[in-house]
């Protein structure tokens, strides 16, 4: 049984974003999710930050302050080794969820 819920999905999106981009601030993560999902997924912008904070406390991501291209101070996040492992598990678990839902929908 897959353990993915909505919160887990947001975690997966953030982890995947960071694994694809390296170092990114919260606003950049929001933009990346929108672009990479061909505008199909939009994250509720504010609710991203509690998730980021929780993931940092779990040791999946780490943060540091830096300057953006427009010289604005922002907090940048990057994936840790534990985060990489978590991403693999989350991807696997999400695949199962999708498979399960698909099977459920096809059942006649």
């Amino acid at each position: 049984m897959a353990k993915t819920d909505l919160q887990g999905t947001l975690d997966l999106l953030v982890l995947k974003t960071l694994s694809q981009t390296g170092l990114l601030h919260g606003y950049g993560i929001v933009l990346h999710i929108q672009t990479a999902s061909s505008e199909l997924l939009s994250v509720e912008e504010g609710s991203l930050y509690p998730a980021l904070h929780r993931m940092e406390l779990s040791g999946w991501i780490s943060s540091e302050w830096g300057l953006t291209d427009t010289k604005r101070k922002a907090k940048f996040y990057k994936l840790t080794a534990a985060g990489r492992k978590q991403l693999q598990e989350a991807e696997k678990s999400f695949e199962q969820l999708v498979k399960g839902i698909r099977a459920m929908l096809r059942y006649a």
């Binding site: 606003y27 912008e45 504010g46 930050y49 904070h53 929780r54 406390l57 427009t70 922002a74 907090k75």
Partner: protein, 241 residues
């Protein structure tokens, strides 16, 4: 997360709150900038950024809640784990509990002795200047002897530059006759007239001795007979010292 990190998290709660505030502000400003770049007026750009973001205060509260629940949850998990380990190995658990209990007990016992014998100051005036003088008979190798009255007077007069004063004390037990005719054994002490003044004792009943109270023979010594109706004076003063 280690306990140390948890504690430092607690200490830097204010710093975290400030950082979160700044992080959220940066997000809203970046969105505003992008909106302006897309052609919105500055007011519309900011309103749109705030709308997309949601209430920053609520978000901040959520983050703080995560912070606290995280610490508590982890701690609870650690405790439950420890408890399960104890259940799985009861002999080990009992050994540990016994060792810690013995250790605490021994420490408390040693400390209470050290405290009462060495650390706690004596309940007298200037306890750090207090000495006890005994007589010695070196050739007979007898020590801790009381002074004779003449020796005491010599000591008192001869040591005025080194000591504020000397007071004599001899303790013993007396049989007292009670009002109802029964006998009672009481602790008693024979002291010199300057005894209470020197040690800073408080007289609860009656009055302190005066120099004239001493018998004329030595003028500095007086038998304080508790049987002569001053038993209250004597015993309560004793308990004060």
């Amino acid at each position: 997360m280690s306990l140390l990190k948890r504690m430092s998290n607690l200490r830097s709660r204010f710093r975290i709150d400030r950082e979160v505030k700044e992080e959220l502000r940066a997000h809203i400003e970046m969105r505003t900038d992008d909106n302006i770049a897309d052609g919105m007026s500055p007011e519309d750009a900011r309103r749109n950024a705030l709308l997309r973001f949601g209430n920053p205060t609520v978000i901040r509260e959520k983050i703080v809640t995560i912070d606290t629940s995280f610490g508590g949850e982890k701690l609870l998990r650690d405790l439950l784990f420890a408890f399960r380990q104890f259940q799985r190995h009861p002999t080990f658990a009992l050994t540990v509990v016994g060792t810690i209990a013995l250790g605490i007990g021994a420490t408390v016992a040693v400390f209470s002795v050290v405290h009462s014998v060495l650390l706690r100051p004596l309940p007298y005036r200037n306890p750090d200047q207090l000495v006890v003088a005994y007589g010695n008979m070196v050739q007979r190798s007898a020590s801790d002897l009381p002074f004779s009255s003449p020796d005491f007077v010599d000591l008192k007069r001869g040591a005025t530059r080194m000591f504020e004063g000397f007071a004599g004390l001899r303790t013993g037990k007396l049989l007292l006759q009670r009002q109802d005719g029964g006998l009672e054994q009481v602790q008693s002490a024979t002291v010199t007239t300057n005894f209470f003044g020197l040690l800073g004792g408080r007289i609860i009943l009656g009055r302190d001795f005066r120099e004239e109270d001493a018998p004329p023979a030595s003028r500095s010594r007086r038998r304080h007979d508790t049987a002569t109706g001053k038993s209250k004076h004597g015993s309560s003063s004793d308990s004060q010292l």
